[in-house]
Structure formats: C-alpha cells, structure tokens
Amino acid sequence: MSHEEIQAFPLASRRRWNGALISIAGAKSGPDEPSRARLQISTGDGAQTVTLAEGESVDIPGVGTIRLDGVDTEPPGERPRPAPGAGQVRLGLTPGDHGTS
C-alpha cells in the first residue's frame, strides 16, 4: 500500500512527481477563509488545472493522489509586497498503483 508523502512546493514553482509535472498556479491562505491552491497538473495525457481547498484531493490516473495539505504565504517584509515566488504550498502525494515516487 502506498503512503502519503508531504512535499513543500514554493509558490509559482514546478516539479516532476511520479510521471506528472505539477505546477503551483496560485495559492491563498487567510484567517477568514480556508486555504486554497490552484494546480496545473500535466501528464502524457494532457494538462488540467484544478483548485483544491485545504484537505481536498484529486486523483490523477496513472499518477496518484494529490491532496492540499496547507498553504504558507509570505507576509510582506520591509517592502509593501511579498516577493514573487515567496511562500509555499504543502501537498500530500500518494503514488498510484503504476507509479513510483
């Protein structure tokens, strides 16, 4: 049985996992709303863009299950805005039957 592994993805970064290219297309966290993340997932069968709320997951056939574990956005520092790419999304990744992580 496959086990979930939590991986941290910097915002707006891309990483290959188990035959898929996972891109972080957007992420939001805040005290008044649940965290959300927009992911672009590309496999040999094409690409899809999904938005997950914290705790939600998506099954990608032949790849595995991707669950949004949490979002850590970066508060502005000395400058009035965060830097592009600052902050991270934590994804719970469980490889599917045919994949290896």
């Binding site: 707006a12 970064s13 891309r14 690409a47 805005r81 790419g85 600052a86 902050g87």
Partner: protein, 377 residues
C-alpha cells in the same frame, strides 16, 4: 578644521538620500505622464502641450539617472576611503573584487547537484524568455529578469558570463553599490533548477548558481526574489519598481521597450488572478507592447511544457492593457549599460523653472549643500 578625506558614514547617508530623491523624481515624472494622458483634450494645442510635458518627463528621467549616478559615486568614494583607512590598506572593489567559487566550503550544500555541461549555448534563441523552463525553486523573479534581459540585449548577458576551460564559468554580478563581483561556477550546479525548453542547461542555470552565491551561498535564496533586486544584481544599474497608479501605461511601456529597457511584471499580492492564464505570486518578462491594438505580451518563465490546458496557465499571453493592470500588481523596469553613463545632459537643468529643477540645479552646481537640500534646511 581642515583635513583630507571624508566621513564615510555621511557619504553613504547622503547617497541614500540622493537615491530617495531620485525615486521622487521618477514618481513625479510618472504622475505627470499619467495625469496628462488622462485629460480629454484634443487639437493642436493639446498635442503641443503633451509634447512639452513629455519633454519635461524625459528630463526628469535624465535627472533621476544623474542623481543615482551621484549616489553611486558617493558610495564608491566611501568605499575607497574605507579601504585606504583600513589596516594594511584594506581590500579594494571593482576589478579587484573577490572571486568566489561554488566549490568553496559551505557554498550550495543544501541542494542536489549535477555535473555542469561544457559548451552551454549562448546564442540569442537560448537566451530568450521563451526558452526558459523554471524548476522546483521559487525564483521566477530572477528568471523573468533573465528573460527580460535576454529579450532586450542578449549580448549583454553573453558579456556577463565567460566560459573557461573544462566547464568553468565566471559570472559577473554587481553588489549594492554597482561594483562587479565575480563568481566561478565549476564542476556542478543545481540539479533541479531552471533549464532550457528541452531540459538542457542554459546560462539561466548558471545564473541560478551565481544568485545563490551572491546571496549567502544557500539555495533557499532562490525562493522569493524581487525583480528589482535581480535586475540590479545582474546589470549593476538601478531598477525602478512601480505599483498602483504609478505603474507605467501602454505608451510608457512601449517607449521603455523601444529604449531597450528590460521590463518585468509580477503578480505578488495577487495570489489567485481572475485570469486563469496568469499564475499568482509569479513574475513574467514583458516582451512586447502593441500601441495600435492596446495590448501587452508577457512570457511565463515556466516554459511551454504542460501548457495545453486552455483553461490554465499559458506560456505567452497577449492581453489588453486593462487586463494587464488588473492581473499584474507591480511593474519593474531596469537599465542596461555602464552605471552612471547618463550621456550629455548639458542644458537640461537650466530649462527647469519649477522648484524641483531649481533645487536640483543648486545641488548639481554646488551652490547648495547636498545635505541642506536633502534635509530641507
């Protein structure tokens, strides 16, 4: 009291004030442009008025650059003075700047590495923003800046990276004073960083390694990079950041591109853009502005792989200026060229009849103390 030399702390303080006032001039120029452009007024008088306004804006930009050049000069003077005053003469900067290697102790030990390729391509196509493929790091601010520079002036990037024997690359970057610092990249580089579209190592891969070294030797420095920091470190020239109403409009951006200035737009602060083609908290190279159609073209440093979902992020997006301003929070504009090279600005100051011009005039002419002007005394 009479003495040779200077209080270097005061020199540096003065330099920062020059930079702050230079920023004020830039803001004034942008305000003037946008305010004038927003007025509904047509006819010959309107055209003449706008032309005169445009001329003043251009002079403000010249002045801004001159002030930044003065600030750089003050920083250099302070540094030289400190070097002379230091025991045994201290260490100099400029050509003598220390060259560090990525094989030095403690450099880049927190990332997987791979052997570096020999003969990494540096042709125009390899340096274009369309050839970028970002990796697992949050360094879009660096890569979009690289792409903007490669788009505007690939020769500049080629000049900054020298390939030696056996896959040794020397990258010139610039410190906060605009002084060059060189980094030797040898044997290995980051394994999961940026590549070209086909997965090949490019000069962007080399620049990631140099950025890591330039920022303390830790790969975590690749997560969250302000484009203004990247452009300044790569060019040695000041970069201007515009947000809100200060952001340049279509005509201003078109003019900047015509002048060869690299432009980066970012969505930091807009976590989930309404336009699903655009990625949140991300940076893009601005590659074209179409005056006739009123559109701006941006290139995502992710590359083209996996961009076949029409409802998801795209590599190249052409959008109206209105859409551009709705989605992108900040526009950053850099400069390419020798630092402080502001050309012949003779006659510019005398044409200013307003308070800013007079004040700057007095300082430039030396009739008013720079400290008095900066402090308003």
């Amino acid at each position: 009291m009479s003495f040779l030399g200077a209080d270097t702390a005061q020199l540096v303080q003065c330099a920062r004030r020059y930079e702050a006032r230079a920023g004020d001039l830039a803001s004034t120029g942008e305000w003037l442009r946008s305010t004038t452009a927003a007025v509904s007024w047509t006819g010959p008088d309107a055209e003449l008025f706008r032309a005169r306004t445009h001329e003043v804006c251009a002079r403000l930009i010249d002045l801004e650059e001159r002030l930044r050049g003065f600030a750089a000069e003050l920083d250099r003077e302070a540094e030289e003075q400190n070097a002379v005053s230091a025991p045994e003469g201290g260490a100099g900067g400029g050509e003598g700047a220390p060259s560090r290697s990525n094989t030095d102790e403690g450099i880049g030990r927190n990332g997987d590495r791979q052997p570096i390729d020999e003969g990494i391509p540096d042709d125009d196509e390899s340096l274009s923003p369309e050839n970028l493929a970002q990796g697992r790091w949050g360094d879009c601010g660096l890569l979009a800046s690289f792409g903007a520079l490669g788009h505007m002036d690939p020769e500049f990037l080629r000049q900054q990276v020298e390939e030696g024997p056996s896959g040794v690359y020397t990258v010139t970057m610039y410190d906060e004073h605009g002084d060059p610092v060189t980094y030797r990249i040898e044997r290995e580089i980051l394994a999961d960083g940026a590549t070209g579209e086909s997965g090949e190592q490019t000069l962007a891969s080399i620049y990631e390694e140099a950025w890591m070294m330039h920022n303390g030797g830790d790969y975590e420095a690749l997560n969250g990079i302000f484009p203004e920091d990247a452009l300044e470190a790569m060019t040695g020239q000041p970069a201007s950041r515009y947000a809100g109403d200060d952001r340049p409009g279509l005509e201003e951006m078109a003019t900047m591109l015509d002048e060869g200035r690299p432009i980066v737009a970012d969505t930091a602060g807009n976590e989930m853009p309404d336009d699903s083609r655009i990625v949140g908290t991300h940076a893009y190279s601005v590659t074209a502005v179409d005056r006739e159609n009123g559109t701006v073209t941006v290139v995502n440093p992710w590359g083209a792989e996996g961009m076949d979902d029409p409802n998801g992020p795209q590599e190249t997006v052409e959008m109206s200026i209105e859409e551009f301003r709705e989605n992108f929070v900040t526009t950053t504009v850099g400069r390419i060229g020798p630092r402080g090279d502001d050309g012949d600005s003779g006659g510019i100051l005398g044409d200013f009849g307003d308070a800013i011009g007079d004040a700057v005039d007095d300082v430039v002419d030396g009739t008013t103390s720079a400290f008095d002007w900066m402090t308003g005394n």
